[in-house]
Amino acid sequence: MDSKVEATYNRALSAMALVGFISFLLLSIYRKPLSPVPFYGAVTFLSIVFIGYFFTGWIFPSSDKFLFILAGFLVELGLIMLCRINIELFKRQVAFFALGVGFFILSSILTRYFVRLELNPVYLWGITTALLLLPLLFGVEKGGARNWLAFGGFTFQPSELAKITFVFYLAGVVKQNKINHFPRLAAEILAAVGLLVLSRDLGGAMLFYLTALAVIFAATSRLDVTAAGLFAAGIMGVLSYNLFDHVRVRIEAWLNPWQDVPGRGYQIAQSLFAIAEGGYFGTGLGLGRPDFIPAVATDFIFSAFTEEFGFLGAAAVILMYFLLVYRGIRIALRLKDSYPALIALGHTVMFGMQIFTIIGGVIKLIPVTGVTLPFMSYGGSSMVMSFTSLGILNGLWLQAREGETDGETA
């Protein structure tokens, strides 16, 4: 690898270590009574980052290390906030991160075999719908959405895994030119989206739908289909506004949260108060009031972050996510075959839309939908599956690089 690029990565890595060290030291001191937990947590976290980074660098010298650094930095910022909000969640999140890194490496390795396998999309669709159906049958409700499965002490969100299988399904189906059997394709996609709506995971439904539209558009260049799809989404939105109470509540809270602050506007109002308090430079770590924000560890972590790190911190996070999307797109463009390119695109769009949906939601640009902020929000399923997606992107990158070197030698 280019030594200049290598140096840049190393600089980013040391900046990340420095930020982590200062922040967690501060949190250790600030916590009353004095506690070493944040410090131990930080050491553990940074060790995992370094091990993960150098291990992937060692087994795949040409892997896209930037992906891992970006994700690691975002996880670190999320951990800093979690450590501040709830130390128990922080400890568990560090464990989830370790698991996530494991999955990142695993999926980096396995992706090429999986791509080569070219599983029949029908199976993938079957797995996806099964994953989405399970919580409806056996699931438990959390935060208003019935999309959780509980095994003993663990809970798991199958829709996170379904995101991955769904992207593979999409890439497979459009590659096979199933687009010609349009009604069937539409029915399959709508079935998956419908299941999400049934489990009241509206954000998820929106993500799946828009990702499907993007992949279909990329493969077919059919603007008419895309436009029709967006139009249909609009109609579905209006319909669900009229049909479902919880949709109406969210839209109304978005349009005018000040009408009923103690009631339906509560969440978004608290989020906005936090962001307002932060100003440009933030209140400073440990000096905000995340305890006022509901669901602060998961959906609203961005608001808590903005309060303490200010507009500048928030803008930096948004730009980091943007870079992540950019890297994903870059991978999609490097791939020679359309099938892996569509997989890369699907994962990137899924990421990008999810980030836009939740950040846009908590700053009241769009209505709030309960999706997590990848890498930053607390949650094992989200963390592990986000890293798996990232690993798949990395795996595809490796494949692209191999293709290039093959081409050079041939």
Binding site: F217, A218, W258, F273, R289, A315, Y321, V325, I329, L342
Partner: protein
């Protein structure tokens, strides 16, 4: 493949747009929405801050407590040890009622949340300081209470200023109320037709009556050549376009020069002077004295009105303006400023009431204003008016304000109004040649200014000057 790549780039362009929207909206939010939300009454941060911060203490100039927060069994309570003399001025701070008066205006200061210096804020946050700033007023609480007692419950107001600096020494509105009992007595207070909640000194608009003749005199001395040598013959009244304006009872008809007319507060002569001056010059002089513009002050001051040119402008209106009647209205603070301008050699200084604020860490923020001074009348004219005003107290309508051994300058006013007896005005300052205090007193519907307002002014001047020795 070509098409696929093009499409992926297109999708990427969409993402660029979406993320730009995020940044753009966040910027918009910071610039336009932020302040509203920080101050929103729904914002729990605000409540918490107020709950956790012990509101600062308000002191008078000598360090006596005017308002303080005491904690009893973990419950914070705001107490006002000086009683009703301070009610309309201090106002109240209550969860139930909200805030009023200085408690409202100085809220940020008393909570310590209006610090401009971010390092100071950070230092206090880190050190866990949970006390707001203490505020020292320029008020002398003895003087304030004395003045309040002198009203004996009658409706009215008093403003006492240091004419050299603009510091407010007393600002009384009667009847008052005890802010500590505002919550319990709210029903009665808000319905009382004597409006105890109103701070008459800055919110009450009264016709200034003859006390306004100071302004007319100033305009005349500057605007009419050789005015001092002129004499006016008066039968005890003047007729303007059929309207008869009379002098006060007991004023003898005859020949009056301007000094004698001022001494006896002759309406007929001042109407003639006003007509000679013309609307423009009188209007301009009143404007220079602060009429028709907001007096810069910590508390919101109602604008005193000198009616401008309109279709109704005619000689009758001008005649009434010249003697402070008609549609002309002034706050007691405005008239105190007029007086103190004469006392200060024609230079008007900005009034202020907050002396300093002290942060819990001992950092002192001074509030003395040095800006806003303007020469309203020239020094020579001011000295002439001063002598005229001394004459008023020595030999004229202001004799009830006379003090043995101390020359007092003053002007009385008995302002006709539709609510009954005239409002009694007295404005003045002392010692006349080295002024330490300027006072404006108005007692509603009390009758003659000299007899009813004069003694109040005298007693306040006397007490203040004694205190200085």
């Amino acid at each position: 493949m070509e098409k696929l790549h093009r499409n992926i780039k297109l999708i990427f362009a969409v993402f660029c747009g979406l993320f730009l929207c995020l940044l753009g909206y966040l910027t918009y939010f910071q610039v336009y929405e932020r302040q509203k939300l920080i101050e929103s009454s729904y914002n729990r941060r605000l409540w918490e801050q107020e709950e956790s911060i012990t509101r600062g203490t308000v002191y008078d100039i000598k360090g006596r407590v005017l308002a303080a927060t005491v904690e009893e069994n973990g419950v914070k309570r705001r107490v006002y040890p000086q009683g009703p003399a301070f009610g309309p001025l201090l106002g109240y701070s209550s969860r139930k009622l909200g805030r009023a008066g200085l408690e409202e205006v100085l809220n940020g200061e008393l909570l310590g949340i209006s610090q401009q210096d971010p390092m100071l804020v950070l230092r206090q946050k880190v050190l866990g300081v949970s006390k707001g700033n203490d505020v020292y007023l320029t008020i002398d609480s003895d003087l304030q209470k004395k003045a309040y007692e002198l009203f004996r419950g009658r409706r009215g107001a008093l403003v006492a200023l240091d004419p050299n600096t603009g510091a407010v020494l007393a600002m009384v509105s009667s009847p008052g109320y005890n802010p500590g009992l505002a919550e319990q007595q709210w029903e009665a207070l808000s319905k009382d037709e004597a409006s105890p909640l109103l701070n008459r000194a800055i919110q009450g608009l009264y016709p200034p009556g003859s006390s306004f003749k100071i302004v007319t005199l100033a305009a005349a001395l500057e605007g009419i050549p050789d005015i001092e040598k002129k004499t006016y013959e008066t039968p005890g009244y003047v007729k303007v376009n059929g309207r008869v304006i009379r002098d006060y009872e007991g004023m003898e008809p005859g020949n009056y020069d301007v000094k004698k007319a001022f001494r006896h507060s002759s309406n007929s002569v001042f109407v003639k002077i006003g007509l000679e001056l013309g609307k423009e010059r009188l209007f301009a002089k009143a404007q220079e004295f602060g009429f028709n513009s907001r007096i810069p002050f910590e508390l919101p001051v109602t604008v005193s009105r000198f009616p401008g040119f309109s279709l109704m402008s005619d000689d009758v209106e001008l005649a009434e303006d010249s003697i402070g009647q008609g549609r002309l209205l002034a706050t007691p603070l405005q008239m105190a400023l007029v007086t103190s301008t004469v006392a200060n050699g024609g230079k008007m200084v900005q009034p202020y009431i907050v002396h300093k604020a002290v942060t819990p860490l001992g950092y002192v923020k001074n509030f003395q204003k040095t800006g806003f001074t303007k020469q309203v009348i020239d020094g020579v004219t001011a000295n002439k008016i001063r002598e005229y005003m001394v004459d008023v107290v020595e030999n004229g309508t202001g004799t009830p304000a006379k003090i043995q051994g101390i020359p007092v300058a003053g002007k009385t006013g008995s302002a006709e109004n539709p609510h009954g007896k005239p409002h009694a005005w007295f404005v003045g300052f002392a010692p006349a040649h080295d002024p330490k205090i300027a006072v404006a007193v108005v007692v509603e519907n009390a009758g003659s200014g000299g007899r009813n307002a004069g003694p109040i002014a005298r007693d306040i001047i006397l007490q203040y000057l004694k205190g200085l020795r």
